[in-house]
C-alpha cells in the first residue's frame, strides 16, 4: 500500500475522532467504569492480604469482618462496572461504525454520475463493511485503554511496594510478552488475510464452475475445473499450514511467558521469604497479580496492532468523503419557471472525464409538447444528449436550457422533478411493485399507481403476481423479465408526470411481439408532452413527431421518419442494422 498524502492521513484521523465522539455520555460512563473496575480489581488481593495479616494471623473478629465486607464490595464493583464498561465500549464503537456507514451512504448518494461511472460497487461495499468494522475494532478500546494503563502501572506500584527486587524479576518477562504479542498480531494479520484470499479463490472457482456448469458439461471440461479447484485447494492448504506454523511459534510462547514469571516468583520470592523479607501471603499475592496482568498486556498489544489497520481504513473512507460532488446547485439557483417545456441545446460540447468529446457543438431545439426521436449508431452520443437535460453531467461548453433557463441555474430538485427519464437498464428496488412504481410520488394513491401501470402495459402481469401490486420484487421476491422491468419503469415515469420525458432505449427488452401493446400507451403519454425518445425499432421511432439523426456528436439530418427514409442514406443504414437484428418483427 502506498503512503497516502498528508491531508488524507490527517483527514482519516479527524474522521475517526469525529465518529468516535458521537456518544459523549457513554464515553464518560465507560472511562469512569473502566477506572473503577481496575482499581477494584487491584484492591481485592490487597484487602485479602490485610485480612490475613490483621484478622487471621492474630485472630481479630472485627477486622476480619471489616475486610470481608470490603472484599465483597470490591467484587460487586468489579462485576457491575464490567457490564457498563463493555456496554459503553460497544455503544461508542458501534455508533462510530454506523456513523461511518451513514456518512458514506449519504455522501455517495450525492456524488455525481461521473463518479459512479468509475466507482466499483464491490469496492464501495468493502468500505462500508470491512473498513467501518476495522475502525470499530479500534474505537472499542476507548474505555479500556486508559484502564489497562492504570492496571499495569497500579499493579507495578503495588508489587514494587511489596518487594522491589521480586517485582523486577517477576515483571521482567512481561514487556517481552507485550512486544511479542504486538509483533505476532502484525505478522499474523497478512498471513490470515492471505488465507482469506485463498478461500475467496476457492469460492470463485466453485461459483463460476457451478454457474457455468452447462458449459463445463457441454464441453466435457470437468477435469479442467477439477484441476483448477485442486490448485486453489492446495493454495488454501499451504496458507493454512503457514498460519499454523506461525501460531505454533507464538501461541505457546504467549502462554509460557507469564508462566516464566511464576517460576521467577517461586525461585526468587521463595528465597526472599526464607530470608524473612517477604511473607508467604505476599508471595501468593504476587502470583495473583502476575496473572492479572496477562489480559491487559495482550489487549494492549492487540490495540497497538489495530491502530495502523484502523487508520488505513479510516483514510480509505475519508478519501471518498473528501470527494466533492461536481453537480451542485448554485447558491442563487432559481426555481423552475412555469414554462411550456422547451428544451434547447446551444453549441454543446461534452466528453466523459478526460475522454474525447462525444458531442461537438451540438445544437437542437425541442419545442414544447413535441416528441423527438434520436437515432444513430452506438456511441454517437444519443444517450449523452438525454443525460445532459436533467444535469447528470455538466456540459464542457455551450449550454442546455429548459424554458430558456440554463439548467445549471435551476434548482436541482425542480429540474429533476420536471424531467423524467427511463433508462435502458431499469433498476427496481427490493420492495413491492407498488412502491417501485410510486417511488417518486410518496403520496400517490392506489388508483394512480394502477392507472400508470395500465398505461405502461404492466397491469396484466402485475395482476398475475401472487400479491398483485403488493408483491415483493428483488432478491427474495419475484424476478421480472427484462421487458416487464422496463414496463414497470415506464409506469414509474408516467406516475411522476414530468414536463419533459426521456425514454432511453426504454423498450429494448420488451418482446417485439408485445411491444405494440405499449406502443399505444407511449403515444398517449407522449401527447402534449416534450419527449425525447431513443430507440432502434422503426415502429417506435415512428411514434415521434420528428426524428433527429445523430452522427459523430452532432445532428446529421432531421425530419419525419418517412422524410428521412426517403432522403437520408445514413438514416437508412442505421435502420438497416436495427432491421437486421429485428428481422422477425
Amino acid at each position: 500500500m502506498s503512503t497516502p498524502e498528508p491531508h488524507i492521513r490527517r483527514g482519516g484521523w479527524r474522521l475517526m475522532r469525529e465518529v468516535s465522539t458521537r456518544e459523549p455520555r457513554w464515553i464518560v460512563l465507560g472511562v469512569g467504569c473502566a477506572l473503577g473496575w481496575t482499581l477494584a480489581k487491584i484492591a481485592i488481593p490487597l484487602f485479602a492480604l490485610q485480612a490475613i495479616d490483621e484478622g487471621i494471623d492474630p485472630y481479630d473478629r472485627e477486622a476480619l469482618l471489616g475486610w470481608s465486607i470490603a472484599i465483597v464490595a470490591a467484587t460487586i464493583v468489579v462485576g457491575v462496572f464490567t457490564y457498563f464498561r463493555r456496554k459503553s465500549a460497544f455503544a461508542i464503537s458501534l455508533r462510530a461504525e454506523a456513523e461511518l456507514r451513514r456518512r458514506l451512504f449519504d455522501h455517495l448518494q450525492r456524488l455525481h454520475f461521473a463518479y459512479h461511472d468509475r466507482a466499483q460497487i464491490g469496492e464501495l461495499m468493502a468500505r462500508v463493511s470491512t473498513d467501518a468494522k476495522q475502525v470499530q475494532m479500534l474505537v472499542v478500546f476507548i474505555p479500556i485503554a486508559g484502564a489497562n494503563f492504570v492496571m499495569i502501572v497500579g499493579v507495578s506500584v503495588v508489587l514494587f511496594a511489596l518487594n522491589a527486587k521480586l517485582a523486577l524479576v517477576a515483571m521482567a518477562s512481561l514487556p517481552v510478552l507485550l512486544v511479542i504479542a504486538t509483533k505476532f498480531s502484525s505478522i499474523l494479520h497478512p498471513v490470515a488475510m492471505g488465507l482469506q484470499e485463498r478461500l475467496a479463490g476457492v469460492s470463485h472457482v466453485v461459483e463460476e464452475s457451478l454457474s457455468g456448469v452447462r458449459v463445463v458439461k457441454g464441453f466435457g471440461a470437468e477435469e479442467v475445473q477439477n484441476g483448477r479447484l485442486a490448485t486453489a485447494a492446495d493454495g488454501v492448504y499451504e496458507r493454512g499450514m503457514a498460519l499454523a506454523r506461525l501460531r505454533s511459534i507464538f501461541n505457546p510462547l504467549l502462554e509460557v511467558l507469564p508462566m516464566l514469571s511464576l517460576v521467577a516468583v517461586l525461585y526468587v520470592g521463595g528465597r526472599e521469604v526464607i530470608a524473612g523479607r517477604l511473607s508467604v501471603a505476599e508471595l501468593i499475592a504476587f502470583n495473583t497479580y502476575i496473572l492479572m496482568l496477562i489480559f491487559p498486556l495482550r489487549m494492549t498489544s492487540f490495540m497497538v496492532a489495530q491502530v495502523s489497520r484502523a487508520a488505513a481504513s479510516a483514510q480509505r473512507v475519508y478519501e471518498i468523503l473528501a470527494t466533492a460532488p461536481e453537480i451542485v446547485e448554485r447558491k442563487d439557483a432559481q426555481p423552475l419557471p412555469e414554462g411550456p417545456g422547451e428544451v434547447r441545446f446551444e453549441d454543446v460540447t461534452f466528453g466523459y472525464g478526460a475522454g474525447p468529446p462525444i458531442l461537438r457543438e451540438f445544437s437542437l431545439t425541442i419545442r414544447p409538447g413535441e416528441s423527438v426521436a434520436l437515432v444513430g449508431a452506438t456511441g454517437t452520443g444519443k444517450s449523452t444528449v438525454a443525460r445532459l437535460v436533467p444535469r447528470f453531467y455538466d456540459v464542457d461548453a455551450g449550454r442546455v436550457t429548459l424554458d430558456g433557463v440554463d439548467v445549471r441555474d435551476l434548482r436541482l430538485s425542480d429540474l429533476r422533478d420536471a424531467v423524467g427519464l427511463v433508462f435502458e437498464d431499469t433498476f427496481l428496488f427490493t420492495d413491492t411493485v407498488r412502491a417501485n412504481i410510486g417511488f417518486a410520488e410518496a403520496d400517490a394513491t392506489a388508483e394512480d399507481v394502477e392507472r400508470a401501470a395500465l398505461l405502461a402495459g404492466a397491469h396484466d402481469f402485475i395482476d398475475e403476481l401472487g400479491d398483485g401490486y403488493d408483491s415483493m420484487l428483488g432478491e427474495h421476491g419475484y424476478s421480472l423479465s427484462g421487458g416487464q422491468r422496463q414496463r414497470v419503469a415506464i409506469a414509474r415515469a408516467i406516475l411522476a408526470d414530468p414536463q419533459v420525458l426521456i425514454l432511453d432505449d426504454a423498450t429494448s427488452s420488451v418482446d417485439p411481439t408485445k411491444e405494440h401493446e405499449i406502443r399505444d400507451a407511449l403515444g398517449e403519454v407522449m401527447r402534449d408532452r416534450t419527449t425525447i425518445i431513443i430507440a432502434h425499432r422503426p415502429a417506435t421511432i415512428a411514434l415521434a413527431d420528428r426524428v433527429v439523426l445523430i452522427d459523430e456528436g452532432h445532428v446529421a439530418a432531421e425530419g419525419t421518419h418517412r422524410e428521412l427514409l426517403a432522403t437520408s442514406a445514413a438514416y437508412r443504414t442505421v435502420l438497416a442494422q436495427a432491421e437486421a437484428h429485428e428481422a422477425a418483427s
Binding site: M241, N251, V256, M259, F427
Partner: protein
C-alpha cells in the same frame, strides 16, 4: 452467507453418531498423525497442570521448610513443565493443522469432483447459491474449527477436568468452597451460548439488510438522483443502519452480561481462596502451598470454560456442515459412462426415437417425439415458450436421459457412448456466452484443454474473428474480469462460438439469443455463427423467423409433441401451426 448455525439445525444424537463415524472413516488414513497429536495434547495438558502442583511443593517443602535445595528442585521442575507446555503446545498446533488442513483439502476436492459429476437434473433441483454455500461457508466453518479451535477445545477440556480432580485431591474443603463457581459458569455459559446465538442470527440478518440496502442505493443511484429521491433513500438506509446498530448493541449487551457473571464468579472465587483458604491455613487444615496452587488452578477453571462455550457453537456448526456435505456426496451420479462404453462414430445421423421425458416427478415435457437429422442437415426447432424445444435439444446432447425411447448418433445410443467422444462430436452453443476467470484464450481452451496456440488461432481464423480479437488490449490474452464484465454481450458470445469452433464438433446445437445484442457486434456474431455452422449438422432453437426460414427443416414443437416437420415454404403453405406462428410474428410492426 453461512446457512447453518441456528438451533433449528442442530443434529439429533443418531445423526451426530453417523457424522462422527463417517468422519472417522475419512480420517482413518491419517491415523498415525492423529495418535501422535493425541499424545501431544495429553502431554500439553499435563504440563500445564503440573505447574501449580510444583509451586505447592516449592512453597511447602522449600520456602516453608527453609530448604533451598527443595526450592531449587521445584523451580527447575517448573521450568521443565513450562518447556513442556511450549514444546507440546507447538507440536499440537502443527499436528492438528496437518491433519485438519489435509482433511479439508481432500474434502474440498472430493465434494467439488462430485459436484462436477452430478447431472444437470441435479442443478435444476438445487439453487447454485446454496451449492456454492456448501463448498464455501460450510467448509470454511470447518476451516475455522481446524485452525482455531479443535486442539484448544480438547486441551481445555483435559485441563478443566484435571484441575477439578487435582483441587479436590489437594483439599476437598477448599475445593468445595471454590468449585461452586463451576456450575455457575456452566449455567452462565449455556445461557450465553443460547442467547448470543439468537442475537447473532438476528444480527446477521440485519447486516445483510444493511448491505443489501447499501448495494441497492449504489446500483440504483442514477435512478434515485433522476427522480430526486436522495433524501428518501438516505432515510431508508439510515433506518436499516440504525436497526443494525441496535441489534449489534443488543448482542454485545448479552456478552456484557455474561462477562459480568464471569467477573463476579472469578472475584468471589479469588476472595474465597484467599480468605477461606487463609483461614484454613491458619487452622493447619491446608498448607500455604496448597493455597498458592489453588490461586493458580483457578485460572485453569475459568479460561477453558469461557473458551469452550465460544467453541461450542463452532463445533455444532461444523457437525451440521459435515452432515450437509455428506448428504451432497451421497447424491447419485445418474448421467454416467457405462462400463464398456464405445466411442461415437465421427459422423452419423442423429436419431430421436419415440422419446418421452419429464423433469423428476414433474409433468410430461416431451411426449413420444421422433425426429431424424442427417449429417450436414440444418434443423430449426420452433414453438412457443415452454413447448419443449429446449428440452429436446438437451436430450440430443445427453444433458438428460430420456424417460422413454432413445437418442442415438450414428446408430450408437448416447447412453452407451463414452462421455468424452460425446462431448467431442456434439457441442452446444448456449444463448449467452458464459465466461470463466482467466484470459480469453483460457476461456476458449475450455473446449480442448490440450490445444496448441496454432489450433486456437485456426479456430479464430475459421470464424473470421482475428481482427475482432486483435482489437482487445492484449488480444486473446486479455484478462476477463468478473465473468466478462469488461466484454459486451456480443463479445462474450464470440468467445463462446470460438470455443465451439475449437472443439470442432460434427454436430452443433445452437440456442439462438432472444434479446438483441449490441448493434456493433451483432453482425459479426451472426457471421461467425454462419461460419461455425458450415459443413456441420446443426440443430438450432430458433427465436427468429429468418433463422427458421433458412433451415433445411423446421420442426414445430408444441405441448411436448412434434406437431409439424417440413421446409419453411411448405409449412407456411400448409396453413398449420407454423403458418399461424408466422402470422403472429409478421403481424407486429412493419416499416
Amino acid at each position: 452467507m453461512r446457512q447453518m448455525y441456528g438451533s433449528d439445525e442442530t443434529l439429533s444424537g443418531e445423526e451426530k453418531a453417523l457424522v462422527f463415524r463417517r468422519t472417522a472413516r475419512m480420517l482413518a488414513p491419517r491415523r498415525r498423525l492423529i495418535m501422535l497429536g493425541a499424545v501431544c495434547v495429553v502431554m500439553q495438558a499435563a504440563s500445564t497442570l503440573a505447574g501449580p502442583a510444583i509451586v505447592r511443593y516449592g512453597i511447602d517443602n522449600g520456602v516453608d521448610a527453609d530448604d533451598l535445595a527443595a526450592l531449587n528442585q521445584a523451580a527447575l521442575a517448573f521450568l521443565v513443565a513450562v518447556a513442556g507446555v511450549y514444546v507440546f503446545g507447538r507440536l499440537t498446533v502443527l499436528l492438528v493443522a496437518r491433519v485438519g488442513e489435509g482433511f479439508l483439502r481432500d474434502l474440498r476436492e472430493k465434494v467439488f469432483r462430485h459436484l462436477m459429476d452430478l447431472p444437470l437434473e441435479f442443478y435444476d433441483r438445487n439453487r447454485t447459491g446454496s451449492l456454492v454455500a456448501r463448498m464455501t461457508a460450510d467448509i470454511d466453518s470447518l476451516q475455522e474449527l481446524v485452525s482455531q479451535g479443535l486442539s484448544m477445545f480438547i486441551v481445555n477440556l483435559l485441563v478443566l477436568l484435571g484441575a477439578i480432580v487435582i483441587m479436590v485431591a489437594m483439599s476437598w474443603q477448599l475445593a468445595l468452597g471454590v468449585l461452586f463457581v463451576v456450575p455457575v459458569l456452566v449455567w452462565a455459559s449455556t445461557w450465553f451460548r443460547r442467547e448470543s446465538n439468537k442475537a447473532y442470527l438476528q444480527l446477521r440478518e440485519r447486516v445483510g439488510g444493511t448491505l443489501t440496502s447499501f448495494q441497492e442505493g449504489m446500483s440504483g443511484v442514477r435512478v434515485v438522483q433522476a427522480f430526486n429521491q436522495e433524501d428518501a433513500f438516505r432515510r431508508r438506509f439510515a433506518e436499516t443502519n440504525e436497526k443494525q446498530y441496535k441489534t449489534n448493541l443488543h448482542a454485545e449487551t448479552v456478552t456484557a452480561r455474561y462477562t459480568t457473571i464471569i467477573e463476579l464468579a472469578q472475584g468471589s472465587a479469588i476472595a474465597v481462596i484467599l480468605f477461606y483458604g487463609g483461614w484454613l491455613t491458619g487452622q493447619d487444615v491446608i498448607t500455604v502451598g496448597t493455597l498458592a496452587a489453588f490461586v493458580l488452578y483457578l485460572q485453569n477453571l475459568f479460561e477453558p470454560i469461557q473458551q469452550m462455550s465460544q467453541l461450542f457453537n463452532t463445533i455444532q456448526a461444523a457437525g451440521a456442515a459435515l452432515q450437509k456435505l455428506y448428504q451432497l456426496l451421497d447424491e447419485p451420479v445418474t448421467i454416467d459412462e457405462r462400463p464398456g462404453a464405445v466411442d461415437l462414430p465421427p459422423i452419423g445421423t442423429l436419431d430421436v426415437d419415440a422419446v418421452s421425458f419429464r423433469y423428476g416427478d414433474g409433468p410430461t415435457v416431451l411426449d413420444d417425439v421422433s425426429i431424424s437429422v442427417a449429417p450436414g442437415q440444418r434443423v430449426a426447432l420452433v414453438g412457443p415458450t415452454g413447448a419443449g424445444k429446449s428440452t429436446l435439444a438437451k436430450l440430443m446432447v445427453r444433458f438428460y436421459d430420456p424417460v422413454v425411447g432413445s437418442v442415438s448418433y450414428g446408430g450408437v445410443d448416447l447412453r452407451d457412448a463414452t462421455l468424452h467422444s460425446l462431448r467431442q462430436r456434439i457441442v452446444v452453443v448456449p444463448q449467452e456466452g458464459f465466461l470463466f476467470g482467466g484470459t480469453i484464450r483460457d476461456n476458449i481452451l475450455i473446449a480442448k484443454p490440450g490445444a496448441t496456440p496454432e489450433q486456437v488461432d485456426e479456430a479464430v481464423a475459421a470464424l473470421d474473428l482475428e481482427p475482432r480479437f486483435a482489437a482487445f488490449a492484449h488480444g486473446l490474452d486479455t484478462e476477463v474480469h468478473e465473468r466478462g464484465a469488461n466484454l459486451s454481450a456480443g463479445e462474450r458470445q464470440l468467445v463462446s462460438i470460438t470455443r465451439a469452433a475449437l472443439a470442432d464438433p460434427a454436430l452443433v446445437v445452437l440456442d439462438e439469443a432472444t434479446s438483441s445484442l449490441d448493434p456493433g457486434t451483432e453482425l459479426i456474431v451472426e457471421h461467425a455463427l454462419e461460419r461455425l455452422m458450415e459443413g456441420r449438422t446443426v440443430i438450432v432453437i430458433a427465436h427468429r423467423l429468418s433463422t427458421a426460414a433458412r433451415a433445411d427443416l423446421v420442426a414445430v414443437v408444441n405441448h411436448g409433441r412434434l406437431v409439424e416437420v417440413g421446409h419453411h415454404d411448405d409449412l407456411v403453405a400448409r396453413g398449420g401451426e407454423y403458418a399461424a406462428l408466422f402470422a403472429s410474428w409478421t403481424g407486429g410492426a412493419r416499416l
